[in-house]
Amino acid sequence: MRALVCLLLIVGISPAQVQNAADVNAGVYTTVLAQGSLAVINYSQVTSTPVLSATVSLLSANSTTPVPAQVTGVKPFTISFVVPVGTPLGDAQLIYKPGSQATQWTRVTIVPANLSLFRTGSSGPLLAQNINPDGTPVLNGLTSPAQPGQPIVLWGTGLGVTPQSAIQVALGGVAQTVLYAGAAPGQAGLNQINFQIAPGTPDGCYVPLTVTYFSQSFTSYLSKTSDGLPCHHPFQLSVAAMKLLDSGTSIQTGEIALTTGIQAPSSDRASRQESAQVLGLYLNATNIANYFTVPPSAAQPCSSLTNGLSAGSLGGFDPSTLGAMKVQSAISTLTLPWTQPPQTDSTLSSLPPPAISGGNWTWSTAGGANLQASSFTFVLPPPVQIAGNSPLTLNRSQNQTIAWNGSGFDSSAMLRLSLSGQYPGLSVLTCSVPAQAGSLILPANLLAQFNSGSTGSLSVSVSETGSGIPYAQFNQVNGSPLLMIVSWSSTDARPVDFQ
């Protein structure tokens, strides 16, 4: 503690973090700001005196005179401001002075446009408005979808001086009629994109939305039905549960996490490592939408990866309140909240059969404080297994094909491959493909980054996505909904020799 206090005093004010104002709820930070956009500075407050005012200016790379920016809001630790439209493009020092504190600065890059739409999570739900015939706006949601012909208002910032003619909106892959796109009247720094739901737009709780401007695009989703009634949720949530989500309330969710993995340091030293556990989570509209809208639900070509971690915060509850639980197949019974079957070495060709095998399963509880005796059935795919022996040999000068037991998977199962090299290269290559493809090709141009004569590790991981995730809904003793979902994943990891 003493060291921490000392460190804080020595370090003083930490550098500010900057956000596009539309990304605040999503927790996304940036150093790229569009001309005319509304942005937010998150700074450290070094005095106990309340900060009631602030000044912000931008000093471009080839200037010695900062350009003042309009400050639109000052709160503890945050300053909202509008990037001056005339700020030169390129690097600039963002100079800010909170209250009577000393002026600080941080580096940003000014671009013509960098659109982001206001939303509550990383990709959505959007804070979009459905406009009723009488002109009243209703927030788009699971129980208040958009309807055909209805005008929709999207709020964002970062369009810059992009003309309306350069902006296209597609919903569910169907081009929409843009009614207006540009500055929001009377709202400094804000943009408004109004469009009308086109005929043929598909229904859904999470209909993909793409706003394209010049060569850039922003993607999210909206809820849309043909009759304006609540959407049919892919987890078959009740209207009451969806209303809770629309109102910002979280619903209790039991996540049954089943993992089965092969680790094969060599063909004669391989093991199967498995676990089953249940987690009690509170999931909000964003958390549930993420099951259907964020990668890896889409295939991604192989690419080099910059190492990074994503973080999320989910509240939890004690799953024991749901009673004594187990998951059971024809050959295995795994007790919850936690089971780890025995793990031992064997040969790769004669691994013990998986405890978490493909086929029919049943989750059941004897009943507890919050839930009566209940059960539901679901189907799991077989564990993934890479074809061939261990270690794998990869020729860096040619495309290399990695194959696995693809026929066992449905169309919702996605496979993510990671290929890592050793220090000091720290090269990482990742790809995502539908697991049922059964193979993928590692391009020679990406393999070339690994050192010849070095070793690495290759791992494939399969998980179900979107509507392929097993689920069930129950009513708890107190009447509140309980969503149960099965989070299954299967891996196979092996050493690699690069030639």
Binding site: M1, R2, V5, C6, L9, I10, G12, I13, V46, L59, A61, N62, T64, P66, G90, D91, Q93, I95, K97, S100, Q101, A102, T103, Q104, W105, R107, T109, T259, G261, Q263, P265, S266, S267, R269, Q273, T306, Q343, T344, D345, P391, T393, S420, G421, Q422, Y423, P424, L426, G453, S454, T455, G456, S457, S459, S461, S489, T491, A493, P495, D497, Q499
Partner: protein, 556 residues
């Protein structure tokens, strides 16, 4: 701490699917634990909760080994909980290790010399082929895991008394006896020094200097014990005396630096902080002294010439300091002999910490001396009052330094001016009211305005108020941009450094960045004083002064 611990556990679980859970490093670099006090301030001598987990604190390339090297595999281990200190003993485990060279389907069994939960010490076979390899390890009949390693010709390090500190050195005597080299028992001219290490591999071209004088390497190679190397150096004549005489050992084309204590007659060295022989004996035997480090910091920030500020702080921290801690103040700074700028490749540096068991232990904390309620730092124009350090806190801090405020670059007053200062304690039960005088240099300040314009096609010279600094002051320069970082280290007294155009060209035209110069005093130039506490032990007080100047830069 709890959050970090949970994060590590999650990483450990995540690692199951990717197998890369182990890290390997030279045994000479392995530091077994890093401890963290959980509950902050408690009473002197009370029992406090300390948690820790194995952590490789040395900045070192991970997973690089050499033939014959004694190496340590660290891996995620189960939590160990001890209800009462001392530090929990590591549980023995059964470990079987193999190495598999790239391109081979056969594995080579390894000799394990020590196996405790979280850390397995082993020897790399002498005939193992160079290049990529996999280290396979099986612990207590659990499934076999693996980690990638790179086998190089040599990767040497000395065993030291602390990370980066003096090497553990001995003077071999007659009939196999040996004496430890220490502050109170320095090496002498003509003696042969025995330094232990690991990682020389199979034959290396070696050379050495002691105090800048070439030293004969009478032997450098395998030691009778598995995996260890022995380096025998003859102390040449003409080496200046000192407690921290620089030693360089070059193998192949790589140089390792350390220090030793050396005097002409073998009598205790004259410590640059005037430590007594008894105190040096205490340090040599692994003991500690009470210490109070006064930290004075003056930071200048300037985005333009009219928008600048100075942020200053003062505090004093009481603790215990050992031989390694004191030696760290005298470790030779790299490249202080002349201007030296280099480009840092972004995103590839650093150590790879390894989880090595998690520990919870209850342990008595050492009592800190009671110096009284107030420490005062006075100059002719300034008086800084430090409070809050009464036992058991030990941390005095200032509340009367002004908050940073905007001003113009040519008129930024400082509360920590250069010149004569006095340290005064108000007096407590362990030390009566006491004082000593010391001198501070001026805060560093770059010449010129802000932002600083940097041409990328020509060498650029940066200058500062160099005349204000003595020979113990070093300046570190950081020039950072969007995708590049250039660093330089020079003696502060030179007052100037030239950044070569070849390095500046790594920045993009018409972009911006930040230029920061950091000044630090080191070694014998740090103001210091000793006081005898009521119990007869020594309190060492050191004044650590740092200052910097940070300005916006524009690349043309």
């Amino acid at each position: 701490m709890k959050v970090l611990r949970i994060a590590i556990l999650l990483c450990t679980l995540a690692g199951i699917s990717f197998a890369q859970v182990g890290n390997v490093l030279n045994a000479a670099l392995y530091q077994p634990t890093n401890l963290e006090v959980l509950n902050g301030v408690v009473a002197n001598g009370a029992v406090e909760v300390i948690e820790g987990f194995g952590f490789v604190s040395t900045i070192a390339p991970a997973n690089i080994v050499a033939p014959r090297m004694l190496a340590v595999l660290t891996y995620a281990a189960p939590e160990i909980i001890a209800s009462l200190g001392p530090f929990p003993p590591a549980a023995s485990v059964a470990a079987t290790l193999f190495l598999r060279p790239v391109g081979s389907n056969s594995v080579i069994p390894l000799t394990v010399t020590n196996a405790v939960s979280g850390a397995i010490t082993f020897v790399v076979p002498s005939n193992f082929p160079l290049g990529g390899a996999e280290l396979l390890y099986q612990i207590d009949n659990q499934p076999t895991q693996w980690t990638n390693v790179n086998v190089v010709q040599s990767s040497f390090e000395f065993f030291r008394i602390s990370p980066g500190g003096p090497a553990i050195a001995q003077v071999p005597g007659e009939e196999g006896s040996s004496g430890d080299v220490g502050l109170a028992t320095p090496a002498q001219p003509g003696q042969t020094l025995l330094l232990s290490g690991s990682g020389l591999g199979n034959g290396s071209t070696v050379s050495a200097t002691i105090g800048g004088v070439t030293a004969t390497v009478t032997y450098a190679g395998a030691y009778p014990a598995l995996g260890l190397d022995e380096v025998l150096l003859q102390v040449p004549s003409g080496v200046p005396d000192g407690c921290y005489v620089p030693v360089t050992f070059t193998y192949n084309k790589t140089t390792v630096t350390t220090t030793i204590s050396k005097t002409s007659d073998g009598s205790p060295c004259k410590h640059p902080w005037q430590l007594s022989v008894n105190d040096m004996k205490t340090l040599d035997s692994g003991g500690t002294l009470a210490s109070g480090v006064v930290n004075l910091s003056s930071q200048l920030n300037a985005v333009t010439s009219t928008i600048a500020s100075r942020n200053e702080s003062a505090n004093m921290s009481l603790s215990q300091i050992g031989a390694g801690g004191i030696a760290s103040y005298f470790t030779p700074a790299p490249a202080v002999s002349g201007p030296s700028c280099s480009t840092v490749t972004l995103g590839t540096a650093g150590s790879i910490p390894a989880v090595n068991g998690i520990f919870s232990v209850l342990q008595p904390i050492p009592a800190l001396p009671d110096l009284g309620s107030t420490i005062t730092l006075k100059s002719p124009t300034t008086s800084i009052t430090l409070t809050g350090g009464e036992a058991p806190s030990g941390y005095y801090f200032s509340q009367n330094l002004p908050q940073p405020a905007d001003g113009s670059l040519d008129n930024l007053p400082t509360s920590i001016p250069s010149g004569k200062w006095t340290w005064q304690s108000s007096g407590g039960k362990d030390l009566p009211a006491s004082s000593f005088g010391f001198t501070l240099p001026a805060p560093i300040q770059l010449n010129g305005n802000a932002p600083i314009s940097m041409r990328r096609d020509q060498d650029q010279t940066i200058t500062w108020n160099g005349a204000a600094f003595d020979a113990g002051a070093t300046v570190h320069i950081n020039l950072s941009g969007t995708a590049a970082l250039v660093t330089c280290t020079v003696p502060a007294g030179t007052g100037t450094v030239t950044i070569p155009a070849a390095l500046l060209s790594g920045f993009a035209a018409n972009t911006i960045g930040t230029l920061t110069v950091n000044l630090n005093e080191s070694g014998s130039f740090l103001p210091h004083a000793q006081f005898q506490l009521q119990n007869g032990s020594t309190l060492l007080v050191v004044v650590s002064f740092s200052s910097n100047d940070s300005r916006a830069a524009a690349f043309q």
